[in-house]
């Protein structure tokens, strides 16, 4: 909505040609409109804040979600055990997932059709499955299907998380490899490097810079997915954040533990998203000297 340009300043000042000033809106300048629009937006915010403050039952809210004594009672185990377990599960799952993903990405780019197909099917399959289903199958399906074949809980969680993450990461890595200009491989080959040496010394290091930011994002998603480990059940020492949170909620008959574990997840994920932004800034726009 702008004032008609044809009339020039005369139209904007409302003093000019009658045709252009037929509607009262045309009398307002763009700056005035923007000011009013901002005013309305602030107004909405204030109204919402006031309504919440008045309507909310603060004592009940604090009593339900903000009991400091319950929060304090969760320390130090929530940090030393649950947070640590979440980090360990996520880290192991990520490392295994990354290894699988690199293999899958190379398979997707292989000149052997069968490899391309296997990787394609794997990726489409696991990308389409909810993480919960993968955990259920790994935790409860496999022990039934293969009686006596019982893996340690940590390994089950690690494999489940790796399966969930590897499909996504494989596609990210494949895109990163393909983003490295073809001339890099040609230069490497013309210097006598074999195709695999060119891949590992020239292409993959450069692809890594491209895919580091999205991989960090995947690590954040995986941190959250690790909460699904709670459905497998565990010993007291084997609980990660979500499992501990649930147990504490039952114990205390209060929802404060939710807030505590939410904060614990943020302790992990906020630095990661900061890292992702830093990496993106560092590598995203950098002129790598590659054409």
């Amino acid at each position: 909505m702008s004032s008609p340009h044809a009339t020039g300043d005369g139209g904007r000042n409302g003093t000019g040609i009658p045709v252009a000033t037929a509607t009262p809106k045309a009398k307002m300048s763009k700056r005035q409109k923007a000011k009013i629009s901002r005013g309305i937006q602030y107004g909405i915010l204030v109204v919402i804040a006031v309504v919440i403050a008045v309507v909310a039952d603060w004592p009940t809210l604090i009593d339900t979600f903000g009991r400091v004594d319950i929060a304090a009672g969760m320390l130090p185990d929530v940090i030393t055990k649950a947070l640590k377990n979440t980090v360990v599960f996520t880290g192991l799952g990520f490392v295994l997932g990354l290894a699988i993903a690199i293999v899958l990405a190379l398979m997707r780019l292989s000149s052997v059709g069968v490899y391309r197909w296997i990787a394609f099917v794997y990726i489409e399959f696991f990308r389409g499955l909810p993480a919960l289903v993968v955990f259920l199958v790994m935790g409860f399906g496999l022990p039934v299907a293969f009686p006596g074949f019982i893996l340690p809980q940590l390994v089950v969680i690690m494999i489940a998380l790796a399966l969930v993450s590897s499909a996504y990461m494989a596609e990210t890595i494949r895109a990163g490899i393909q983003a490295v200009p073809k001339g890099q491989v040609e230069a490497a080959r013309s210097l006598g490097m074999s195709s695999s040496r060119a891949m590992f010394t020239i292409v993959l290091p450069q692809a890594m810079r491209i895919i580091l930011p999205p991989l960090t994002n995947e690590l954040i998603l995986l941190t959250k997915d690790s909460s699904l480990a709670y459905i497998l059940g565990s010993s007291v020492d084997g609980r990660e954040l979500a499992a501990l949170g649930r147990a504490e909620i039952v114990n205390s008959a209060n929802l404060t533990p939710f807030i505590v574990i939410a904060l614990c997840y943020l302790i992990i994920t906020i630095p990661l998203s900061y890292l992702s932004r830093v990496l993106e800034k560092k590598y995203g726009s950098a002129d790598s000297g590659v054409k």
């Binding site: 200009p181 230069a187 210097l191 010394t201 000297g289 590659v290 054409k291």
Partner: protein, 261 residues
């Protein structure tokens, strides 16, 4: 075949590069129809011609970056089209310089010059460094040893790329339009490096649009059009006094671009 004349120029031994009846198609698109060309040791051959004439494809067939569809290419006795040939070992002896430089962006200039020496030739780090320093000095960029390619100008990157290829001690150097992607003011430095290389006796095949360079430096000029060698001979003949009408038309277009018709 026009090249039979040059083959006879090789009084002693066989030519370093011998291309016979080379054909190359991309799908149904035949880019090289029938190319035969010999290059002697120490000779500088410039390949000129309109874009799309197959010059670059011909050059890329020599070190099999493109797989020939037919014909044969022999480089220093190695049959490049032989599937049993160790192509990686063969390529070590054929240096290549690209239009778009293709320096390794994640490595410093030093690493660009040493990575293949250590990993492919198995040279020690100190030995590779010594070779790298000597070659970087040759292209006049000794002070850029620790720079990243991204911080260099196009002309500097291309000189580093030449030094990188030289560091493998190749028998022949292929140049694929080495100055076409450069700012005009940096072209001269790159051509000077190539001129020095030619004077030092390097065997060179240069696909180029620089007629002046071809006139001054080339022992022989090859004019290609439509996937065939139309005319070849000493620069003063092919560029100075072309026989074929197609060559004349091309030269009048590139030498006097302002004139129409």
């Amino acid at each position: 075949m026009t090249s039979s004349a040059t083959a006879s120029a090789t009084a002693t031994g066989s030519p370093l590069i011998s291309i016979r009846n080379l054909q190359k198609s991309f799908g149904s698109n035949q880019v090289l129809t029938d190319i035969s060309l010999d290059v002697d040791k120490g000779e500088v051959v410039c390949v000129i011609g309109p874009s799309g004439s197959g010059k670059s494809t011909m050059l890329r067939c020599i070190n099999v970056l493109e797989t020939p569809s037919g014909g044969s290419i022999v480089v220093d006795g190695m049959d490049m089209t032989d599937l049993d040939l160790d192509i990686d070992a063969a390529r070590i002896r054929i240096g290549m310089v690209f239009q778009s430089f293709n320096l390794f962006g994640h490595l410093t200039v030093r690493e660009n010059l040493t990575v293949a020496q250590t990993k492919v030739l198995g040279r020690s780090r100190s030995e590779a460094d010594k070779v790298a320093e000597a070659n970087l000095a040759k292209v006049g960029l000794s002070e850029k040893m620790e720079a990243k390619p991204g911080s260099l100008s196009g002309g500097q990157q291309q000189r580093v790329a030449i030094a990188r290829a030289l560091s493998m001690d190749p028998d022949v150097m292929l140049f694929d339009e080495p100055t076409s992607a450069l700012d005009p003011e940096t072209v001269g430095d790159v051509l000077q490096v190539m001129r020095n290389l030619a004077e030092a006796g390097m065997t060179m095949v240069v696909v180029t649009h620089e007629m002046e360079f071809a006139r001054q430096v080339a022992d022989r000029v090859v004019f290609m059009d439509g996937g065939v060698v139309v005319e070849e001979g000493p620069a003063r003949d092919v560029i100075g006094n072309p026989r074929e009408q197609r060559t004349k038309d091309f030269l009048s277009r590139v030498l006097h671009p302002g004139q129409l018709g």
